[in-house]
Amino acid sequence: MNTYLVPESLAVSDSGFLFLASTGETFTLNEIGKDIFKMLQGGDTREAIEQKILELYDVERATFVRDFDDFINQLSSFKLIRTK
């Protein structure tokens, strides 16, 4: 079970705007990215996120898995998340 750590200094707004207060960097997320990020911030596991997203959005599991991994990699590269 994978869970993720989000920096305390990271705030996400309802519009999907991310502000990393420790570095001043900003990012924007689309609707589904924002939903996933809030789940990550709330401490949801990968499995729990998968279940919720498949319920909420019309998406194939294989597509979700590919896109989720890509999203996590991007977040990691910007130091917005760490895998626990």
Binding site: S9, A21, S22, T23, G24
Partner: protein, 344 residues
């Protein structure tokens, strides 16, 4: 209370005078007049509305201290100055030298000592940091072509080639170093500083030291937009306790008395902060600190007048400044006043 402020240039390399004045005017308890002291009759701060109540031309520091003192004495006879805030590096030595004589006229300043000023000079910074265990890029001073030829054995490229007072170039090979050396030598003289190039993001801190080692306040900022002159044209206040703590340690080590700007680079590789420069005055972005809740220029005025000033504990994270240029329209009569009478 009448406060004189220098550095009213507001071009693409802006002086700190206008933002310092804006901060003074933003202080709820401030009442009085702001007197602009200017070296050039085209300094925008002379003409801008709600900046200086009155402006005077003053002689360049290179004209000598006596003409400067006489001019200030004349201005004081007209304006009854309480405090002068010099905001430009090049005038600090002169104002420090004059500070006792100004005090005898009743004019307060809040300036570092010569020793403090020298400790943070570009050619002394490496030694200062080494003594106090602050991370600093490796650097060496070059005073001749012979010295220059030793560089390939001491550094990996790229390196930063810096003038003793101003300007810096990134050099990717020896030819670049040589070209930068020639440019800087002709413009600013010797020595030239060769510095290890640390890759990472730039962070700056504006702070105010009370002279005892304590910081009255400190606000860190990351540049969001940098001009081709390397000037921050937009920036945001950030939340980094390690950076604030480091700034406080530097102010303490210097026992700095006045405003200052600390320039850091955060290493991409290690995440450590390397100190690049200590500028001995408020930066041109100081009004961001005021906007974020720390009015450091007004605190400096109070310190200059011998008042107790509480330390700032917080500031608003995520406060942004975005600088802009503005065509101010005035008429020849206004310009004429400055050129002919030296005041307006």
């Amino acid at each position: 209370m009448n406060i004189a402020v220098t550095g009213l240039n507001a071009t693409d390399n802006p002086g700190p005078g206008v933002p310092v004045i804006r901060s003074l005017r933003a202080a709820a308890e401030f009442s009085g007049r702001i007197i602009g002291l200017s070296y050039d009759s085209l300094d925008p701060g002379i003409y801008m509305e709600n900046i200086a109540d009155k402006s005077y031309l003053i002689p360049y520091p290179s004209s000598g201290l006596e003409p400067l003192f006489e001019r200030i004495a004349y201005i004081h006879s007209r304006e009854k100055l309480d405090v002068i805030i010099p905001t430009l590096d090049s005038e600090l030595y002169g104002f420090i030298k004059l500070s006792e004589r100004l005090r005898s006229l009743g004019i307060h300043t809040f300036l570092p000592t010569f020793d403090q000023l020298n400790l943070r000079a570009k050619d002394k910074l490496f030694d200062f940091c080494t003594v106090h265990s602050f991370k600093v890029p490796k650097n060496t001073l070059v005073s001749s072509l012979q010295d220059l030829h030793k560089i390939p054995n001491q550094f990996n490229y790229p390196v930063v080639v810096k003038g003793i007072f101003y300007d810096a170039y990134i050099a990717h090979n020896f030819n670049d170093v040589h070209a930068a050396f020639d440019k800087l030598r002709l413009k600013w003289g010797l020595p030239i500083i060769i510095q290890e190039h640390v890759t990472g993001d730039e962070f700056n801190v504006v702070a105010l030291g009370d002279g005892s080692g304590a910081s009255i306040g400190a606000v860190p900022m990351r540049k969001l937009y940098i001009t081709d002159k390397g000037k921050g044209w937009a920036g945001v206040t950030v939340d980094d306790k390690a950076l604030i703590s480091l700034a406080a340690d530097i102010v303490k080590a210097l026992k700095w008395q006045s405003g200052l700007e600390l320039e850091f680079i955060k290493s991409k590789e290690t995440g450590e902060y390397f100190l690049l420069e200590i500028n001995p005055r408020f930066p041109a972005w100081v009004h961001l600190a005021t906007g974020a809740g720390q009015n450091l220029p007004y605190s400096l005025v109070k310190l200059a007048r011998g008042e107790q000033v509480p330390q700032f504990k917080t500031y608003t994270i995520g406060t942004i400044f975005i600088r802009y240029s503005w065509d101010y329209i005035t008429n020849m009569k206004e310009f004429e006043k400055l050129v002919v009478a030296g005041e307006k």
